[in-house]
Structures are given as structure tokens and as C-alpha cells.
Amino acid sequence: MAHPTATKVGEPAPPLQLPDTAGETRSLPMPGEAPATVVFWTCNHCPYALGWQDRLTHAARDYGPRGVRFLAVNSNDAERYPRDSLEAMRERVEAEEWPFPYLHDESQDAAMAWAAKVTPHLYVLDGDLRIRYEGAPDADHTDPSHGAAWLREALDAVLAGADPARPATEPVGCSIKWK
């Protein structure tokens, strides 16, 4: 199996065009269309992804009114891990009322292109679709008081036109389940 190579903060984000759980094709915004975009890999059965999910949801609700877009992506092999099937993704989005689309990367091409390694693995893009932050939401998946602080710091900086003080952290989570 070929492993993804690392993306680099400061470089343009790779393209992203995937179906969501309703079958609608979603893409990154056009340059200048949104002041910031958060793309993050997640899945349905990883303790890290599940532990951080509420914090990401709250961040999406807090930053949505400021034009920030969130896109969640699941690239796991659903054949070996049926809980990551499109149907299971759809059920979760509906049951938990996700405020962002949940994209299905069945081919795993997006995960390869973005060099996503684990769930969750976050990328913050600026309005020109350059990667300005890559890593974890915050320092501890078990402690809600952290409140996705690293993600929020990066978003605040990008929205202010500044460089994030912490442009990269080590993403911590479950390995993506490659085919």
C-alpha cells in the first residue's frame, strides 16, 4: 500500500470533491468565497474522533456565523469496518444533527492527497485555500475543557489576517483504515 506523503503548512490545499451523506457533491469554496475553511478527517468508531466530536461541533456553530466552513471526511475502508459505511455515516449525521457535511471518500484518494493520517486530523485553510494549521483540535481528547483551543487559535489568527502562533501540532488519533 502506498502511504500518503506529508502536506505542508503554507502550501495550497489539495482539491477536495466528494459526496456527502445526502449524495450531494461538496467541494472546497472558491478562493475568496469563505474567510477560512476547516477540513477534518474523522470516523464513526475511534475514541479520539468521538471524544473530540462535540468540541468540533461547537466550534463549527461558533465560527459558522463568521463565514467559516467545516467539512468532515471519512476515508476508512467500510468493507472491513462496516461502522464506517455510508449508511452508518448518514445515520450519525441525522441522529446528532451535524452542523457540517460528512463526506465519503470511498476511494481514499482524498486522504492520500491530503496526507491525512489519523482521525481526527484537522486542516485550517485561509481564504486563498492555503493550509494554515494542521494537527489536533487541542491537547486532550478526554478533557472537554480544552474546547478545541488549538483549532480556535488558528481560526482566530486566520480570520484576523495573521499567522497562527502554532501552525502545526501532531495529529493524535486512530490510523486511517486503508484498503
Partner: protein, 113 residues
């Protein structure tokens, strides 16, 4: 026959980063209860066949005299990361320390039967 202590098994898979923390927690609790922390049987599972053979529902899994420190319920067998619930309801990649301690104590107290 002399009993030296419960059989403590630690099953892990490399796809989850929580193994080291969980093993350290387990060994701390064993030491606190007077058990030899070096007696843990650490087993890495590498294939779906390994997972099937050991009834492995996620990494890390800790069994003490065959009893899982947190009942796995209907979790499917496979090479994945284990989702634990801490006693306060939070989700965690490692089991609750109290669950580990209680299972060890149950095994120690049951060992004299």
C-alpha cells in the same frame, strides 16, 4: 497448588496510540496492589485472523483472568481502537483506572477460591 497472581493479558494493535498509556496505567495498578508488573502478558495483534482468534474488539484490551476490564458488549471483532467510557461518561482511548483496579482486586480476591 500455589497461586502466584491473576493472569493479566494486554492485547494491543499498532493503529492506536493509546497502548503505552494503557499499559503504564495497568502496571501502576498492579504495583499498587502488590502484583509483579512484569508479569503482564503483552501480545501484539497484527492481522484480522489474530483479532478473530483472540476475540479482540479493539486496542488496547486488558483481561484479568479472562475478564475484560470493561465489558465489550456487542462490539465487533477487528483491528480497531477500543472506545472506553470513563466512569463520568467521557469517551476515552484508555480504560478507567478504577475499572482496572476493581477487576484486579476481584481476581485477587477470587484467587483463593
Amino acid at each position: 497448588m500455589e497461586r502466584t497472581g491473576p493472569k493479566v493479558e494486554f492485547l494491543w494493535w499498532e493503529g492506536c496510540p493509546s497502548s503505552d498509556d494503557a499499559l503504564a496505567l495497568l502496571r501502576e495498578e498492579m504495583t499498587a496492589l502488590g502484583l509483579d508488573p512484569r508479569s503482564v502478558e503483552v501480545r501484539e495483534l497484527r492481522t484480522d485472523g489474530d483479532a478473530e482468534r483472540h476475540g479482540f474488539v479493539g486496542s488496547p484490551t486488558i483481561r484479568i483472568d479472562g475478564v475484560d476490564v470493561q465489558a465489550p458488549g456487542d462490539e465487533p471483532v477487528g483491528l480497531t481502537c477500543r472506545v472506553y467510557r470513563l466512569r463520568d461518561g467521557r469517551i476515552s482511548a484508555v480504560p478507567d483506572r478504577e475499572d482496572v483496579r476493581e477487576t484486579l482486586i476481584d481476581a485477587i480476591e477470587g484467587g483463593g477460591d
